[in-house]
Amino acid sequence: MLDEFRGYVRPSGRVGVRNHLLILSVTGLTGPTARRISACLPGSVVIDFPYDGGLLGEDRAAQDRALAGLGSNPNAGAVLLIGANTVRVGKFTELFSVAGTPMTAITLDECGHDAVTLTERGIRAGALLSKVISGLRREPVSLLNLTLGLECGRSDPSSGLVSNPLLGLIADRIVDFGGVAMIGESVEWMGAEHLLAARAATPDVAQKIQAAVDRREGLAVAGGIDLTGNNPGPSNIAGGLSTIEEKSLGNIAKSGSRPIQSVVAWAEAPEGPGFHLMDACSYAPESLTGFSGAGAQLLLFTTGVGNSYVNASAPTIKVGANPETSERLNEQLDYACPAVFSGDMALEQAAEELFVVLVDVASGTRTWGEILGEGGESFSRMGASI
């Protein structure tokens, strides 16, 4: 029985499924420098946070939480931290030092605000970090070390019938090992929230599920939009999904059947093992960053009609069951099971196959998204800037 994968055990005790040199720019001012440095260090992963000055309150807290989470995600073997001033950068160096991640911080302040000097220092510092982490080796570890984020994008009814229930079986299995799994996209709990609330571990969690849905529904109404045409969006509707309720019922099939331990905010790490919900935006780039910012090392992402986007920090396994999509998107779907859709294969058998793919990817096999460089990070804004 599969119960281990080969991962990078970090000084914190957490386990990475990748060994990235992460080039993390914590202010929009140093984004171009970060991208130049990354271009000179093949294989590095760059995250260029586009904001900083002017962030306020809840928004500021959420952005800093996400940056801290991305920098301490165990998929980062080392972090080259880039910022404008030593105060802001110092806040993050303290955090990452606690995790024991090899790290170098460079700032514009220390380079006389000369981006060329910053670039040169960054390339040299990043090269050294890259050398250090190239000496690290994978070792066998239990699957309980995994935190999974589960996503669906450009869904059609094959998602709700096959692909999402398939992820639900995988989520149950990881939870039963003692690992963590979560879904987000809280607008897509609407119409299915009673089913999620019935699985809440405590009455407080049930109340938070309802509150999250009420808030999203209120946002949609206040925004004056008809959800039909927005969510479900045009590609969902073309694919055959008619209403948010129908989409939600398919969406929550990803959540499996285990008790729901908590509702966390975007990019907030769940406390403790088990299944959790993330109250966050349903747009895939932001949703995936919510998961990797919350510490997920591995993502599973179903699509009905095709969706090429993946996360930069966490390998994203693309899953589909639509027969036409499965035939068309060879270099996108890491696992396709149209035979389940057509009734020629049991869902449980597909779950066995997908679990093998998951363990392989956790152990180093690259996803199509990684091979093709489709990864990005996107930050959910919670309010206006001053």
Binding site: A192, E217, V221, E245, L249, N322
Partner: protein
């Protein structure tokens, strides 16, 4: 588009409460399709083309009637819907996130 033929069924009803089936292939108007619901397969004549993954009615639904899939409400019929008709955004409306309904439905 070719008709799916695996010698079994062309569409599936997910729950006995459901008024709709999901097409497992591109199905054509006038076609007698085999619809599986649990262990039972019944034949329904389609009134219009039903693309892959789209829904059609397996029971008559009156205007205003709640439509179920997965055994759960997915919206209400905006017009009367006959058996074999395409069920989609033109005749099935969400009951959520609508300005005039949120006030009535939202928990106080």
């Amino acid at each position: 588009m070719s008709t799916r033929d695996n010698g079994k069924w062309d569409a599936v009803v997910l729950n006995p409460l459901d008024q709709v089936a999901t097409a497992l292939g591109n199905l054509s108007a006038g076609q007698s399709v085999r619809v599986r619901s649990g262990e039972v397969v019944e034949v329904i004549v389609l009134a219009e083309d039903i693309p892959l993954c789209h829904k059609f009615a397996v029971r008559v639904v009156a205007q205003g009637g709640v439509i179920h899939k997965y055994g759960e409400a997915i919206g209400a019929a905006s017009i009367d819907i006959a058996i074999g008709r395409h069920v989609h955004v033109h005749n099935l409306k969400s009951l959520r996130a609508q300005r005039n309904q949120l006030n009535e439905n939202s928990p106080s």
